[in-house]
């Protein structure tokens, strides 16, 4: 192998899908290369075949998927032709992988030190003392505090970001030529994501590792990539230097993807003077776990949160996991009773009403949930789901169905599709159905709880547009819960920033983004990937 040759050369790779799918190949005729010290991002939406490509390199494809053509050369050696034994020898030494879910990728019953040590034991003859020294050294290099303590801990005792560092440590401990990172930051909060991206970049620069980085997020691409490979439905549609692809995308799909990334620059902010639709005052939620002995544990999920939404206005709650944003939304929706505070809609307090007294007010507030695959009853037609609410409140079947047909058209679906079951719709279509179901109740307030988070950017954009459209049409007050500052910038008139159960800042969106007052808000905005590159500003 020549020292100038690529670390990884994928050449005409095709991987066959098992029969019965909508296409014959997961990837087809895929070719690209990763040079030493280069970060290549393979980017695409779900189903593009980007992860299949990554797993093919490691030889870790599920048995149902078979590479049927092409070659994958790691430092000149075709790994597709390698024996299982040879593949095992290469893994961990010449190529290593970091996965998406740091929560599940580490063995919960083994100590962290042992899990890194495992790589050394498999591939080296080092004695225990040498191995221990190497483990501690790599933990130190990952900028983990107190490597000794971390090495002796179990995975559940450290945070998600730390776990991903451990995964990187185990991958890098033998200095592989190629590091494959499969959406390594997707499951992490935005501030943690920024740190992990920095770490990967640092590792790669210092050690000259070639990195194959799989992602769906053009923001991340802008942060980290030297070169970009864009995949769509198993094919490469575009490839080039990161700056070129980001600034001057050639293929229409790439243009669409980049264009769909919401901008961090807030859209035109409206000043809403309409009457108040909902006034939540001092909302708090406390969990108490009673205990026979000792003190009861008290967890404050949310504390004295004030939120006011006017008719026709969108108010966003942004925050990372554990910030309490979803708790607040669920309290306002009365899916759980708040421990304290009042929810005025707008003149009656529904915070403490019993279910029976609450029922008449139920239809005023409706929710669109995050997971489009679980928010519709799989056993009932979408029509039945949409008309359920109106019929509960006395609308007859014919009228409710007629209205459901109108709503289907309104959300961009065929009225005849009412007779279909949820599994016959894509994720984005289901989210449209969920919106139609909420609208069927003729609500005044719509709560969107991470309603676009599970969707690909292109679909995300359509659903956001739909939300704006129905807001105008029905003069809706929208409470929009999200972790994504880009999305929030595009749809919210005002935002509320939450951290650890309390509101740290709230205000008109444009002002908060232009001049964040609280350090946490600033950290959130700064951590948004691709900010310097101006992704989404096209």
């Amino acid at each position: 192998m020549s020292p100038e040759g690529p670390v990884l050369a994928v050449d005409g790779l095709s991987v066959r899908l098992p029969g019965g799918g909508d296409r014959a190949h997961a990837v087809e005729g895929v070719s690209f290369a990763v040079g030493p010290g280069e970060i290549v991002c393979v980017v695409g939406e779900s189903g593009s075949g980007k992860s299949v490509t990554a797993f093919s390199v490691m030889g870790l494809l599920p048995p149902a998927l078979k590479p049927v053509a092409g070659a994958i050369r790691l430092e000149g050696e075709n790994v597709l032709a390698a024996s299982p034994k040879r593949l095992r020898d290469l893994r961990g030494t010449r190529m290593a992988m970091v996965f998406q879910e740091p929560m599940t990728a580490l063995n919960p019953v083994l100590k962290i030190g042992d899990q890194i040590d495992e790589v050394l034991r498999i591939h080296t003859d080092l004695g225990p003392a040498d191995r221990r020294a190497k483990v501690l050294a790599i933990l130190g290099a990952m900028r983990l505090p107190d490597p000794e303590r971390i090495a002796g801990s179990y995975p559940h005792q450290i945070s998600g970001g730390q776990r991903q560092r451990i995964m990187i440590a185990a991958a890098m401990v033998l200095d592989p030529a190629l590091l494959i990172a499969d959406e390594p930051t997707t499951a992490l909060d935005v501030t943690t994501q920024a740190q992990i991206l920095r770490l990967i970049k640092e590792m790669q620069t210092r050690r000259g590792t070639g990195v194959l980085f799989i992602t769906h997020d053009f923001g991340v691409v802008a942060e980290i990539a030297d070169r970009v490979v864009v995949m769509q439905k198993g094919h490469i549609v575009e490839e080039g230097r990161a700056a070129d692809v980001l600034r001057r995308p050639q293929h229409s799909y790439t243009r669409m993807l980049i264009g769909a990334v919401p901008s961090l620059k807030p859209a035109v902010t409206r000043e809403i003077k309409a009457p108040v639709a909902l006034d939540a005052v001092g909302i708090g939620k406390t969990y108490r776990s009673a205990s026979l002995f000792g003190r009861a544990k008290i967890v404050r999920a949310a504390e004295s949160v004030d939120i006011r939404i006017r008719r026709g206005e969108t108010v966003g709650i942004v925050g990372e996991s554990g910030s309490g944003k979803t708790t607040v939304a669920r309290c306002i929706a009365r899916l759980m009773p708040p421990s304290e505070g009042a929810i005025l809609v707008p003149d009656i307090d529904i915070a403490k009403l019993t279910e029976r007294r609450l029922r008449p007010y139920r239809r005023k507030i409706q929710v669109v949930f995050q997971d489009p695959y679980r928010s519709l009853n799989p056993r009932r037609t979408v029509g039945a789901s949409i008309i359920e609410g109106p019929m509960n409140f006395g609308t007859n079947h014919a009228d409710a169905t007629a209205r459901a047909r109108d709503l289907m058209g309104l959300v961009g679906l065929q009225p005849d599709a009412l007779a279909r079951y949820p599994h016959q719709f894509s994720g984005g279509q289901r989210q449209r159905v969920a919106i139609a179901r909420a609208l069927a109740m003729e609500p005044e307030i719509l709560i969107a709880d991470e309603a676009v988070s599970a969707l690909d950017v292109s679909v995300q954009r359509q659903v956001l547009a739909l939300l704006r459209d129905v807001q105008e049409r029905f003069d809706l007050a929208i409470l929009f819960i999200t972790h994504d500052l880009r999305v929030a910038a595009q749809i919210c008139d005002r935002i509320v920033v939450m951290e650890k159960g309390v509101v740290v800042e709230q205000g008109v969106t444009a002002q908060v983004y232009a001049a964040p007052a609280h350090p946490y808000t600033r950290a959130l905005i700064e951590a948004a990937p691709g900010r310097d590159f101006g992704v989404g500003e096209a």
Binding site: M58, L60, L87, R88, D89, L90, R91, G92, T93, A96, M97, F99, E101, T104, A105, L106, N107, P108, V109, L110, E118, V119, I122, H123, Y154, H156, M167, A170, A171, L292, F293, G294
Partner: protein, 313 residues
């Protein structure tokens, strides 16, 4: 840790209390005078009167329960009028064969079932897996006494390797003890093996699909070590749990096995007591078995932390 153990111990109290209430109510649900029922069919009027006053049967039912529970806590399980002994004596005399049988069965079952289950999970979809799973369904379907008689027919009657029936105490020699216990233990272990092997296969299979197993493969680890180091330890909690819950199956099976193999243990005693309508004995055996069952499962609960560091007390 100590606080946790104490808490778990206290948590068993309501369960045992409910068992006690159920067992107590058992007699009150029988038609007729409880005193006469306790005394059995051949009792004299004086005996019945004696029982009535001793158990306070003329008092309110709560008081009766109090008296009865008080007796139990003092180790007084009542008197068997059929066997003409105190129930405590009766049980002490019969407990050794039952414990021996249960213990030997447990050893056989666990040492056979866990490797079988791991093997089936590892060789999933192959004929080995199908054999193990087939045996498991079979094990659930064959009653203990049919297995027992089949084994007796082959090994005792046709081949003459072991005695047909009977029991010999371990104090009278280990060889004879084991020779007589092996067939009953094997028959009793069949359903237990089926249960444990199935759960082992299921939980190892599940663990083998976990992300950290993929991580281990990505490190270049060989399958054998993945199986034992990564998979089995993670699969241990459900396996151990089912071993504990299976004790109920085992204790129930003892009743049948002892009858087939003429082993003079608690199981035989139970059947004899039911046939003789000797309620104090039935009550005591049920209570005893339930306490054993609850105690073993408590022990297993406490042992979870050995397998899984996430479980902290």
């Amino acid at each position: 840790m100590a606080a946790y153990i104490l808490r778990r111990l206290l948590a068993t109290i309501p369960v045992l209390l409910i068992v006690a209430v159920l067992v107590f109510l058992m007699l009150r649900l029988t038609p007729g005078d409880p005193a006469a029922v306790i005394a059995g069919d051949n009792a004299s009027t004086e005996q019945i009167d004696l029982i009535r006053s001793r158990l306070g049967l003329d008092q309110p039912i709560l008081v009766q329960f109090g008296i009865w529970a008080g007796h139990l806590l003092g180790g007084n399980f009542g008197e068997s009028f059929f066997f003409k002994k105190t129930v405590a004596e009766l049980i002490l005399g019969r407990i050794e064969p039952t414990l021996s049988l249960a213990f030997v069965t447990m050893v056989i079952a666990v040492s056979v079932a866990v490797p079988l289950g791991v093997l089936a999970a590892y060789k999933q979809g192959t004929w080995i897996d199908r054999m193990v799973m087939g045996f498991s369904v079979f094990g659930f379907s064959v009653p203990i006494f049919v297995v027992g008689y089949a084994l007796i027919y082959v090994f005792a009657i046709t081949l003459g390797w072991v005695p047909v029936q009977g029991y010999q105490s371990i104090s009278a020699g280990f060889g004879g003890f084991l020779q007589r216990l092996i067939l009953p233990a094997v028959s009793l272990s069949v359903i237990y093996i089926a249960l444990i092997a199935r759960m082992t296969r299921a939980s190892v299979t599940e663990v083998l699909g976990e992300d950290y197993v993929r991580t281990a493969r990505a490190k270049g680890q060989v399958e054998r070590i993945i199986l034992f180091r990564h998979a089995l330890k993670n699969a241990a909690v459900p396996i151990v749990t089912v071993i504990g819950l299976g004790i109920a199956l085992l204790l129930g099976g003892v009743v049948v096995t002892e009858s087939v193999f003429a082993i003079p243990g608690l199981g035989r005693l139970t059947v004899d007591a039911v046939l003789a309508r000797d309620y104090p004995t039935i009550q005591a055996v049920i209570l005893l078995f339930s306490v054993i069952y609850v105690a073993i499962n408590l022990g297993i609960d406490l042992a979870y932390s050995l397998f899984d560091p996430r479980i902290r007390y």
